[in-house]
């Protein structure tokens, strides 16, 4: 889905979102409340500039609009794969964006992520995955990398990976698998505006993803192992 169609469905009360070089920013009305929007479009590769622009919007919200909720609209092919970005230290820029989102959350701002088209690796962990909770549309693509590339790097034959991907959410792309693993809170279908309003109501700063992964059968070890470390015990 393109961001204009998305914004119309998400914000029937109106919005001021503008797109510039695949960077989305603006405000919108949700249930009569103004929210700040950051995001990207066109499967944007996240380089140092767009990471800084997203971070700036978060900081401006923190500085000028106390407790205004933040919505992150995710459509990215991941971090920009350029020598220039690495030379400038793109990991610092992505960490900076992640830290801005984390500060907002720990300061009591409600933050919701929505993967409306694509979400890959580095562009995802410092945006949607840093929110209180991240949601996805049914047609979204979410993954670390494609199965052919994965097969090349892991040296596991593509046929075997493809077969495993059918039954094992660990390898397979897509929102259903991320839901099962606890990375995605829910997949939205139907009235997007109603679901966004509800998500903002339910927003909770505690990281519940490993508990959700265990409950939904996608990650059996994440929660018991972390709990065992906290107790210096063996996992249940």
């Amino acid at each position: 889905m393109d961001w204009i169609t998305l914004a119309a469905q998400l914000f029937p009360g109106g919005h001021t979102i503008v797109e510039q070089d695949n960077f989305l920013t603006g405000t919108a009305q949700v249930d009569g409340v103004t929210v700040s929007i950051i995001g990207s479009s066109g499967h944007a590769p996240i380089g140092v500039e767009i990471a800084l622009m997203q971070a700036q919007t978060i900081l401006t919200t923190l500085r000028n609009f106390p407790q205004r909720p933040i919505v992150i609209l995710v459509d990215t092919q991941g971090q920009r794969l350029r020598h220039r970005d690495e030379m400038l230290g793109i990991n610092s820029y992505m960490a900076h964006l992640g830290k801005c989102i984390a500060l907002a959350r720990s300061s009591g701002y409600k933050i919701i992520g929505l993967v409306y088209d694509q979400a890959l690796s580095g562009g995802f962990i410092t945006s949607g995955l840093m929110a209180d909770a991240c949601y996805a549309l049914p047609g979204a693509t979410i993954r670390v990398m494609g199965l052919p590339a994965m097969a090349r790097i892991t040296k596991v034959p593509l046929e075997r990976l493809t077969e495993l991907a059918k039954s094992n959410p660990v390898f397979a792309p897509g929102p259903v698998n991320y839901l099962q693993m606890g990375g995605i809170e829910a997949i939205w279908d139907g009235d997007l505006a109603v679901q966004l309003a509800q998500a903002l109501q339910d927003a909770n700063p505690v990281d519940r993803r490993s508990a959700a992964g265990l409950q939904r059968g996608g990650r059996s070890q994440a929660l018991p192992v972390a709990q065992a470390v906290r107790a210096n015990d063996s996992p249940a």
Binding site: L59, L88, L103, S121, T154, G183, D207, A222
Partner: protein, 299 residues
């Protein structure tokens, strides 16, 4: 053994921490292994490539994690990530003097890709919660696999980073960039270029790492203490603050404005004002720091 680069994770723990002080959590004899690797006929490791525990550093209590580059490049899977997250969450209960992260990782373990990606994000959030609680987190980067991908982001979430000149800190590895955009974009076989772009000296000059040390475990040990003490001396800066992140925003924007048109790190070093930039790679760590400490960028 004194080289930090050549040591494995457990050797580093013993060399960096007070002698005999390390107590491991979920040690190898418990055999907490990845539930996913077996299905791919991939080998498992009984510590899943990371050792975690409690120890002392010059007498101060610390919690510590060390990634093992010898097992799948230190990559993060479900169990590996959960050990790290659990350690950080435990810091909120134990309240150690500092948390030390001895990082060596290629990033997300592709064999358990989705679990690894979510795990890195859980580590980031847990790490920042530790800082919010007023406990400093110090990252040590000096292993032969470098610190890449999601762990390259995690390192930059810490209060401070110490690197050796041999250490490498970045996001996408040069091979990944070369595969995506061609050898003209980033020649992964040009070792000097790779080093100039991702190595400790460049990160120190840009201000992404706070201390640069020689490849020696004693130097990392001393640097970890120095950085933790510095954090406690400025205790109000351990947690994230709006003022600090606004300053970081300006700092990172200035870097793009000043160096965004550079084609090679050498251009940046010259712009910083280093007289003999071409000779920087030849300098020993101490001589390099002496020559550049006043010129390097810092937040």
């Amino acid at each position: 053994m004194s080289s930090y680069l050549e040591a494995n994770a457990r050797e580093r723990l013993h060399a960096v921490l007070d002698a005999g002080s390390f107590t491991e959590f979920l040690p190898p004899e418990l055999r907490i292994v990845s539930p996913h690797l077996g299905q791919l006929d991939a080998p498992v490791s009984f510590d899943d490539g990371i050792a975690i525990g409690a120890a002392r550093l010059f007498g101060e209590p610390v919690l510590v994690a060390a990634q093992e580059g010898g097992f799948m490049g230190g990559a993060v899977g479900e169990v590996h990530g959960a050990k790290l997250t659990g350690l950080l969450q435990r810091a909120l209960l134990d309240r150690p003097y500092a948390v030390l992260l001895l990082l060596e990782s290629g990033g997300v373990r592709l064999h358990e890709a989705n679990a690894g990606l979510i795990a890195v994000s859980e580590v980031m959030r847990a790490l920042l919660d530790v800082r919010t609680a007023g406990i400093p987190v110090i990252a040590l980067v000096g292993g032969s696999n470098g610190c890449f991908g999601g762990m390259g982001i995690v390192a930059c979430c810490a209060n401070a980073i110490v690197m050796s000149e041999e250490g490498r800190l970045a996001m996408s590895g040069p091979e990944v960039i070369e595969t995506a955009n061609g050898v003209e974009e980033f020649d992964s076989r040009d070792r000097a270029l790779v080093w100039r772009t991702t190595g400790g000296k460049h990160r120190y000059l840009l201000g992404d790492c706070q201390l640069l040390v020689a490849d020696h475990s004693d130097a990392f040990r001393q640097a970890a203490l120095d950085l933790a003490q510095e954090c406690h001396a400025n205790a109000g800066e351990i947690a994230l603050t709006l003022e600090a992140l606004e300053a970081e925003q300006h700092f990172l924007q200035d870097r793009v404005d000043a160096f965004g048109a550079a084609a090679d790190p050498l251009d940046i070093w010259q712009k910083i004002g280093i007289a003999d930039a071409a000779n920087l790679p030849m300098l020993e760590a101490d001589a390099f720091v002496a020559a550049t400490a006043q010129l390097r960028r810092r937040p």
